[in-house]
Structure formats: structure tokens, C-alpha cells
Symmetry: C2
Subunit: 411 residues, 2 copies
């Protein structure tokens, strides 16, 4: 391709040539013709920023080690930030936006930590900070909220937002294996990282909830304010009790308007068979949105992986090209959204207690329902009536260490 041709194209830089960054380059390459049509202009990857060299890579000569080469090149109008982290990625993003370069990112950590600030900087400089890929990978949930549901008041967003934990829970449910075994297998297959804490403790989902909740409220929901429980305490016994009640256990990321406040949490829930989130299996993600005119709608697809995530970054790039010099509306102010008091929220709860505590649990949580599993004598399951979180916690204390598991029930 001659320099003349390239000069008429949109020049793109990719920051970070890892899984997602190389995916962006691959998507742009493989779907070049339709992307050119959709964007209205050709896209050329002019630079790839990485600390490493990539000898033999077809894009070898695009690799630079100094971000200033990119930031100081006025030809570059769109930057894809696929580095991750909130250090260099934050600095580079700020500087790119301040020079009027739109930034499209898959970096949920950065979006959760600095989203509204970066959106505001972009707005000041007539460019855009786009982050479709930061939540639920290839599922266009950010667009659904920002561009599609513009006639709605969104009241609640519940999602299966982490593929690793959903894969583990699905395997536990379908194959009867215990948590540690499934986690080990998931690591072997590359579905879980060698250091899986961010996933299994719910921190990854927590950031995504913070982003979705912020977009729902138009104000900032801090990831730190999102009540978070992971799935490490879920046992095969819990899964069996859930099954016997026609339910399955899912790690849900949930945000809900409560008056002017927002309730935001990540926790395992027992989900019924008629809930659309019940049937989301394996590494798939899904997001359920409840809004005041449309009611429930759901968006389902691959929430992670090189090409699905990269495709979402590319969709953002196309949008930036379609809106050069114009601001794509995104309502997310720095002002904090007040958090609802979790203690006041009502659910039913599932308890698994030592068999000897059956009468005690029935007395302490009247109006509930015991569940016994055939051939299982060491414990008993119990579904409470609906009660406040704070009352539940208080009464559980009375039961002390006879409580083996406690899991919320999604209605």
C-alpha cells in the first residue's frame, strides 16, 4: 500500500500487543472490506506500542516502544488501549484524549477507576472515550444502554459477567465435580488464569458491575462500594440442594435503583429455571436489563476471548470514525451515586446447616421450607421466607457454626 493511499485512511494505533491488541489487528485485517464499508473510510494500523519486539510478525515494522511517537503523530486519530492496568494505560489514555485522539479500550479496571474523568476529558477535546469491550466482551451492552434504551428508565441490571466463574459453576452443576477439581481443569484449559483470585473472588465482576451501575445512574458507582462475594465457598452439596429445588447457582453481578440510591453487588445466587440467566452456561456471559417501558431484555454472547473482545474494540473504532470531531453521548458524571443500604434489601436465602440444627433453623426463620437430599444425613437445606439482609445476618449468628452455607435466592 502506497503512502498516498495510507494518507487518506484513518490512522489507528494499538497500545499493547497482547491477546486483545493482537485480536484488534486481526479483526481489522480479516474483516477489512466490511469494516471499511461500515466506517465509511479505510482503517490503517500505523503503530503498535509494546515493550517487546515481534520478529517475524507481519506487523513487526509497526511496533514502537515509545508512546510519544504515537501521541505526537497528528495523523493518528484513534487509539486502541488494550494494555490493561491503571498506571501507564491511564497516562497514555489521558494524553491521547488531550490531543484529540479518540481512545477505545477493553480495560475495565481503568474504566471503573477513571471512566467519568476520561469521558469528560474526551468531551473537552471533541473526541471520544469508548469502552464497549470493557464489559461482557463482545456483547454490545454499553451500546444497548447508551444508544438503544434512550427512551427508557433503566431500573435494574443483572448479569453473568465473568466467564471463568460461570464455567466453573456450570461444570460443578453438570458434572458433579467439586470446586477445586473444576478450577484446576479450567486452569489447564486456559479458561482460568494461574492466579485466578480476581475471577473467583468476584473482583473482575465487581468492576463490570460498577461500570454498568454507573451508566444506569449517570453518576459514579465506585467499584470499592460494590458488595462482593466470590464462589470459593460454593460446594457440590450446595449445588445438589439447589438442583433439588429446580435451581442452579450463578455468580450474579447486580445493580438496582432503590429510589435515588443504587444497590450494587456481586454474589452467588440460586437462580430458578424460568430465569433467563439460569440457562447461561460455560464461558458465556449475559446481561439482563429491566427498564420501565420495555420490561426485561437480555443480551447474550461471548464475554471474553481474543476475537470477541477485539471485535467490540473495533466496533468502537468504527463509531469514532463515523463521529469524527463529534461527541458520542455517554452520561456518566464524576458525582457519586449514593449507595443503598444492603442491610435493608430483602431476599429469600438458602441455608445449609448441620442436621442437628434443623429445628433451630426452622424456629429462627419461620415460614421457610426445609429440603432433604436422599441419602444425605450430615446436613439439611433450608429456604427462608423473604427477609432483610441485616435480619438474616443477625439471626444466622444465633445458629453459629452449624451454618455450613448461606446463599441468596434470586426471585
Amino acid at each position: 500500500m502506497g503512502a498516498e493511499t495510507r494518507r487518506n485512511m484513518i490512522q489507528v494505533a494499538v497500545l499493547g500487543y497482547g491477546t486483545v491488541g493482537s485480536g484488534v489487528v486481526e479483526v481489522l485485517e480479516r474483516n477489512r472490506a466490511p469494516i471499511t464499508q461500515k466506517a465509511g473510510e479505510g482503517l490503517n494500523v500505523k503503530y503498535i506500542l509494546d515493550l517487546r519486539d515481534f520478529p517475524g510478525d507481519p506487523y513487526e515494522d509497526k511496533v514502537v516502544h515509545d508512546v510519544d511517537v504515537i501521541l505526537e503523530d497528528d495523523e493518528v486519530s484513534v487509539v486502541c488501549e488494550t494494555m490493561g492496568g491503571i498506571g501507564a494505560a491511564y497516562q497514555f489514555t489521558r494524553r491521547a484524549l488531550e490531543r484529540g485522539k479518540s481512545v477505545c479500550t477493553s480495560n475495565k479496571e481503568l474504566v471503573a477507576a477513571h471512566g467519568p474523568e476520561l469521558i469528560a476529558i474526551a468531551r473537552q477535546h471533541q473526541c471520544n472515550y469508548m469502552f464497549e469491550a470493557s464489559v461482557a466482551g463482545g456483547i454490545p451492552i454499553i451500546r444497548a444502554i447508551n444508544n438503544a434504551m434512550t427512551g427508557e428508565v433503566i431500573e435494574q441490571i443483572d448479569g453473568i459477567l465473568n466467564g471463568t466463574t460461570n464455567y466453573i459453576l456450570t461444570k460443578m452443576d453438570k458434572e458433579g465435580a467439586d470446586f477445586d477439581t473444576v478450577l484446576r481443569k479450567a486452569q489447564e484449559k486456559g479458561y482460568a488464569e494461574r492466579n485466578p483470585q480476581a475471577d473467583i473472588e468476584g473482583h473482575d465482576a465487581r468492576r463490570k458491575v460498577a461500570i454498568l451501575a454507573s451508566l444506569m445512574m449517570g453518576k459514579t458507582v465506585d467499584a470499592d462500594g460494590v458488595y462482593t462475594e466470590g464462589i470459593t465457598k460454593i460446594t457440590q452439596a450446595d449445588i445438589q440442594y439447589a438442583k433439588s429445588a429446580g435451581k442452579t447457582i450463578k455468580l450474579l453481578g447486580s445493580s438496582k435503583r432503590e429510589g435515588d440510591c443504587v444497590l450494587a453487588m456481586v454474589a452467588p445466587f440460586l437462580v430458578g429455571k424460568d430465569d433467563p440467566l439460569c440457562m447461561i452456561d460455560g464461558v458465556f456471559n449475559a446481561v439482563c436489563v429491566r427498564s420501565n417501558m420495555l420490561g426485561d431484555s437480555m443480551y447474550y454472547g461471548r464475554g471474553a476471548g481474543k476475537l470477541p473482545t477485539a471485535s467490540a474494540v473495533v466496533a468502537d473504532v468504527v463509531d469514532c470514525v463515523r463521529h469524527q470531531g463529534r461527541i458520542i453521548p455517554c452520561f456518566w458524571e464524576k458525582e457519586k451515586a449514593p449507595l443503598a443500604n444492603l442491610g435493608e434489601i430483602e431476599h429469600r436465602f438458602f441455608l445449609r446447616v448441620k442436621s442437628g440444627a434443623k429445628e433451630a433453623v426452622e424456629a429462627i426463620f419461620p415460614g421457610g421450607r426445609s429440603v432433604c437430599l436422599e441419602g444425605r444425613t450430615e446436613d439439611v437445606g433450608y429456604f427462608t421466607a423473604s427477609l432483610k439482609e441485616k435480619d438474616f445476618a443477625e439471626r444466622c449468628e444465633i445458629l453459629g457454626d452449624t451454618v455450613l452455607s448461606k446463599i441468596r435466592v434470586e426471585e
Copy 2:
């Protein structure tokens, strides 16, 4: 509200004050504040066109009977066409677009018949023809295709696109009733029209398939070219055989790239329990998109009803306000997309034949599998191996009137 204030607002006209049209007015009223925020400007319903008067209606004084009042008022910049039909609606839409007024419609019949022409007229006049509400009601599937999946090549779109037929099939499946009984009940509840032919014979779904297939191809797929079977021949026996094989029967609208051609059809299919479309019950709609980077994604929600459909029209209005004087990309040319030869397509098929024909069907369709239902002696079910439609049809002729049902199997 004073005249001064109204003059600074976007003036909207609604054509047709029926279910959807009155829904549009209601959504704009009830969600006024968030819609103003999302659109960046206030929206005012200046006119409602209808043949009738609405004495006592709060919008009584907006009602006009002459479309020219609207078309000749330069203040009106967005028109919502919620009349239906392809006569007056077509003329009014053309004339509005020719005057640079964007038109947002829920009229699938008109979009299927004249979509590319109206899109082209809009483009010539720097305005937009928008039709999110024409397919799957409140589900933002048109936006997903046009704005979100811009980094993808879409290969296949399968959907449950008609709520009435899905309600009937769901009731037949869950309650064991037969088609006529369920249809009568659906009519009593208002889920089916008194004249239900357009729904139960698949014509409604056919138009939606034509629209989705056209957007997938960027060329026109005529609704008349979409092979269409309805659900009137589905019996409770078929449902029982499907169940015994772990499947359910759904009316699917399907479009698929076959090289440069497109396969487009509406027909009942046996759908397996692991297909996400299997669990879409009742009046809900869902659309599954398969694309080359993201793989499968699904969009689910209310496909009909006053407020969900109206909300989709309002989202289009907001988009028009955000893009005044600018064209929102939509790739759908008048040129026809060549249709694939249905006869060459391979599926497995389910057959229900008279008991005496069991050996004949096994001989004619080798490699398949018989299914018997306990206590049922008059017929037998049979799943063929995968074979071409034309071969299936040919061999069925040999079986003559021993064939009681034939239904495709979704893989």
C-alpha cells in the same frame, strides 16, 4: 408550556393514534426528563394524525386529519409512522422524507416492501428512515446489526420473531392443549388477533426475516422470496414426540449466507434444549446472530406490545435528534440478494407416520432413529439422518399419506 419554549424544542408528529402511536406519546410523556437528557433537546408532540377525533384525550388538540398540515410545517423535524399498511403510510413517509423530515416507523410491512427506496430517499435529503420497532419490538436488533456488529461479517440470523405463535407453541408444550384450543384462548386474552392468519401462517415473521436478511446482506431480500410455513399443522402429538427427544417446537425465522446467496425461511423447527432459542417462552422474542469474530450472540425481550414497540420508535427519534442533518449509516441497497436454492440445504427431519409405515420410513431414510411414545399405537416418530430438502421431499412422496407430520430439526 409557552410558545417560546416549544419553539426551542424538537417538534415531532405521530401518524396514527392506535396502539403503537399512543404508546409513543405515552413513552415521550412518562420518560420526558431522561429522554430530553439523552436526546440533548426536548421533544414536543406537535401533531397527531388520525382519521378519528379523540374527545377528552389529553392530546385531543394535537389531532389533525390532514397530513399536509404536518408535511408543510417546517418546524416538524421527526415523524413517527405508526399507521401500518403500505398505502397511505408509504405516500406519507416518502413525502416527509422528501421534505427532510426523518421518519421512525414500526411498520414492518412497509419496511419489507419499500425499505431500501425509503432509505435512499432519506439519504438524498439528509435525513433518516429508522425502523428499529419493525422487527422484534423492543429488542434493539437493528441497532445491533447496523451499529454494534460493525467489525463482524454476519453469517446467520435465526429468531423467534412472532410472539403470538410462540405463545401458542409454548402453551401447547407446557399445558398439553391442542392448537385450536390454545389459539382460541390466545384470542380471548388478546395475544392473538381475531383474524390470526398473518401470525399463524408465518407471514408476519416472513417480513421480519426479509428485513433482517436484507441488513445482513446489504441487499434486498424480498419477503415474497422467503420460504414460509406456519404452525397450523403442528399437533400435540408432534410436541410429545419432540419432548421425548429432549426438544421443543419453535417457529423460527432464519436467514443464512450461502456463498453469495442467502437462504431465508420461516418454518417450525424442533429445537434442542441446549439451543438458546429453546427456552424463549410465551410472547417473548429472541434473535440469535452468528458472526465470524464474535460467534453466537443473542438478543431477547418483548417483541410486541404497546410500550416496548413504542420505546423502540422513541429510541429512533432520539437518534434522529442526535444526528440532525447527518445520515445514520444503514447498508441496504435496492439490488436483490440472490436466493439460495432451498432444495440443496441439509437438515435432519422429524417425521410422524402411521404405525404401519414404520419399516417403510426406516428403509427410505436409512441411518435415522425411530421414537415410540408409551401408550401411543396409532403413529410413530422418526428422526432422519441429515439430508437435502429436495431429497427429503422426493422420498416423502413415496410414503404418501402415511406421513402425518414433517418438521425440520434445528442443529
